[in-house]
């Protein structure tokens, strides 16, 4: 299905693929992990954007590069100028966030749900 996707959506998908890969990957390998067969140049555009943001770094290999997600606290260059407090509480808005802040009752209920469950991690990676 050749869907023309917006770059933002593809950026999220590239990040997911890099996170799922676990090891540094080439653009070609990355492409094979993405749905909808995006063009090589499109994937590179996204990767350059992520390099700019400091979310991704790369190591040279032969004539090309291998890319990986930056998760190392010491290497993450967070911008101190940005107003992160604005995002630390949950104002209602058009920005969908992964999880909202919990109420105390929810915190208790969540620990109960997890406590009553056998096994603590998911199934094996495929």
């Amino acid at each position: 299905m050749a869907v023309r996707r917006r770059l933002g959506q593809l950026e999220a998908e590239v990040l997911a693929a890099l996170a799922g890969a676990g090891i540094p990957v080439t653009t070609a390998e990355l492409r094979s992990r993405l749905s909808g067969d995006p063009a090589h140049t499109t994937v590179n555009t996204i990767l350059f954007r992520l390099l700019d943001k400091g979310l991704v770094d790369r190591v040279r290999e032969g004539r090309g590069y291998r890319y990986r997600l930056v998760v190392d606290e010491s290497r993450l260059v967070a911008d101190r100028m940005r107003d992160q407090l604005r995002y630390s509480n949950d104002p209602p808005g058009v920005l969908s966030r992964f999880v909202a802040t919990l109420s105390p009752a929810e915190t208790r209920a969540l620990r109960e749900v997890l406590g009553g469950e056998p096994g603590s991690t998911g199934t094996d990676p495929s």
Partner: protein
Amino acid sequence: MSWLTFMPVALVTALGVLLGRTGLPLHPAWSARLLATVAAMAAVTTAGTLAFVAFDYGVALLPGAAARVPDRVLPDGGAVPHMLGVPAWTLSAVLVVACARLGARWAAQLRGARRASAGVLDTDDPIALAVPGRHGGVLVSRGLLAGLSGRELEVVFQHERAHLRHGHHRFLMAGMLAAAVSPVLRPLYARLELELERWADEDAAEAVADRTRVAHTIARVALARADRPEGLPAFAEAGVVQRVRALLAGPPAKNRVSGPVALTGGGLGTGVLAAAALELDRALAALSIL
């Protein structure tokens, strides 16, 4: 002007209140679509009815203006009583201001988030946000990247990707508009928010083919946020527990038939009512002929 004037808005609002209270036994993707449709139609119907009453009242007050507007929009029923006309004008004014402020807030939020998503947020708070738009993407914090494993980050990014892919910000806009226009529809908006998160959770679970991993990632991030000393606990329930429970239970039915049927039915029903509210004088005339 008769009690029938308020029938469309009463019916759509009643449906919105009902759906906000009970929800539907549908896949979240279909629930969210239906809730957003009802929310949008409720907003249009309420605004349309208010404008109709306010207009008729205004025309009755200013006979000079009546001569200048086309004949077909002139009220043919009795005069609008002050008891209805004055509140209609007041509410219309309040609505216009509320919608303008909502629009300004959205624009400011998007601008700020787009600027911030040029980098990584400098906080230990694990934050991930979907930033809609052509130059949107995912806004994440240092705490999220450093605190989660690769497989957990994959879940987070797949979840945000689902929001961007399906344009969930448009659904949220419909819900917020309905809540702004009619405060009794706030529960509808809250339920819509939850269904959108559930929808993104289900998409992520499908993408990584592991429901348990998605459930645990959500729980981990939520509890990490709750454990932060400077973090203020929320006053409202965010639905995280429901999301985790739903993921640990089996996958929901896709509702490939009942979903579209419910959406079409709900869309047509509320659409007709909204159209009636926008052309109230004609709808009322048609009813009086019957």
